[in-house]
Assembly symmetry: none
Homo-oligomer: 224 residues x 2
Amino acid sequence: MAYRILIVDDELILTELLSTHLQDHGYTVSVAHSSDEALAKLATKPNLILLDINMPGMDGLELCKVIRNHIVCPILFLTARITEQDKVNGLRAGGDDYITKPFGLQELLARIEAHLRREERNSRPPEVVTSQGLIINLSGRKVFWNEQELSFSKREFDIIEFLSSNPNQVFDKERIYEAVWGYDAEGDSNVIKEHIRKIRAKLMQASGSEYIETVWGMGYRWKK
Amino acid sequence: MAYRILIVDDELILTELLSTHLQDHGYTVSVAHSSDEALAKLATKPNLILLDINMPGMDGLELCKVIRNHIVCPILFLTARITEQDKVNGLRAGGDDYITKPFGLQELLARIEAHLRREERNSRPPEVVTSQGLIINLSGRKVFWNEQELSFSKREFDIIEFLSSNPNQVFDKERIYEAVWGYDAEGDSNVIKEHIRKIRAKLMQASGSEYIETVWGMGYRWKK
DNA sequence: GATTACCTTGACGGAATTTTGACTTTCTCC
DNA sequence: GGAGAAAGTCAAAATTCCGTCAAGGTAATC
């Protein structure tokens, strides 16, 4: 699943260059040239945001605070303001990193990787063990119920992985679709329902208990 | 609880200076002057590590990888190696930040704060607790009254979420409708009244107290 | 190219929820 | 105290959502 990066900067040449470069490295990139556009593009649920400070209208520092109220993801300032005080201001405003222009593309890439790796690290333990002997091995992509291995298809496992890695949280179908398929579903997706049914059947058959709860009108929740 | 920071560097003067400075800002600091010492000090479970690269014996990059096998926490390289390639190597080795000497103390502090803030952000379950044992778990969409779980429908929970997240503020029905439904109500909405009634009934039944006040002619207010 | 497993779609019934409309009660102001 | 507006109550209708099934499409494997 490709990571989504949102670039917010009013310099067209820079965004164009960066965008191409990041895409070459496998990222899905969206670009905003103003604060308003940036806020609108939050709907794409970026995994990381590159934010310029000098912009017409609301400046990057303000924007950063606003973004923080909406989504949780690393925000990297990318700016020509280079004094120590600038850096401190940026970081205190809620930024996770502060990179001064001009910067090396290699360094930028390495920093982006580091931040994404960290998100990964914080959100994903290598193995999840849930109640009563159900063991989900994420790296090995295997599920065991007391010695007995249960077999799941790719999509089924992906869904189990996503839900069980975020136990007790409710996710609506769109969110699950997005997390598992990597892009937004169009229209009503019966797909999730069907996969959930299959997963439930297998888990129930083996363990005799429910792991996935339905929250009516909202989505599903992994019981832990 | 004070955050614990581990400084790993073989330069005595620098560690001494840094240590004092960080302590002045409320951190608990431990210092290691070699890789071995660093590994031993991991037992203090630091919340963040400042790591020099140039050290006798195992260098910082190697050490970083080893540390990663033991504990999960941000690692910031603090080093005199300043080429872009050095930075890339450091970040790729598993570092979360790369700060080149000489650095400003203010910037260092701001970066440390940013990293710790991020850990915090990633680990805290968002919960709202209101008076007398009523717990509203927003991400899990559950409401508890002393161990006992109360069940609410989607709209009911949405209304509870909105009101309890803005306690002591009065919202008229239109405002609530807009916040919960996402668009403006047309005409007289009996809907809100009805939902409020259901919510009140459930809360009253379980807890015996009123959480939602009517402000006559104005709207409703979540009592906190 | 055929077989197999997997993914996706559309339709349907039933269940749970949401909304509605009629009615009653409460409150405010005269 | 009474008129009128706002809020509360109730039951029934309307709607939405979920689980299920069957079937068509797609990808992978041999």
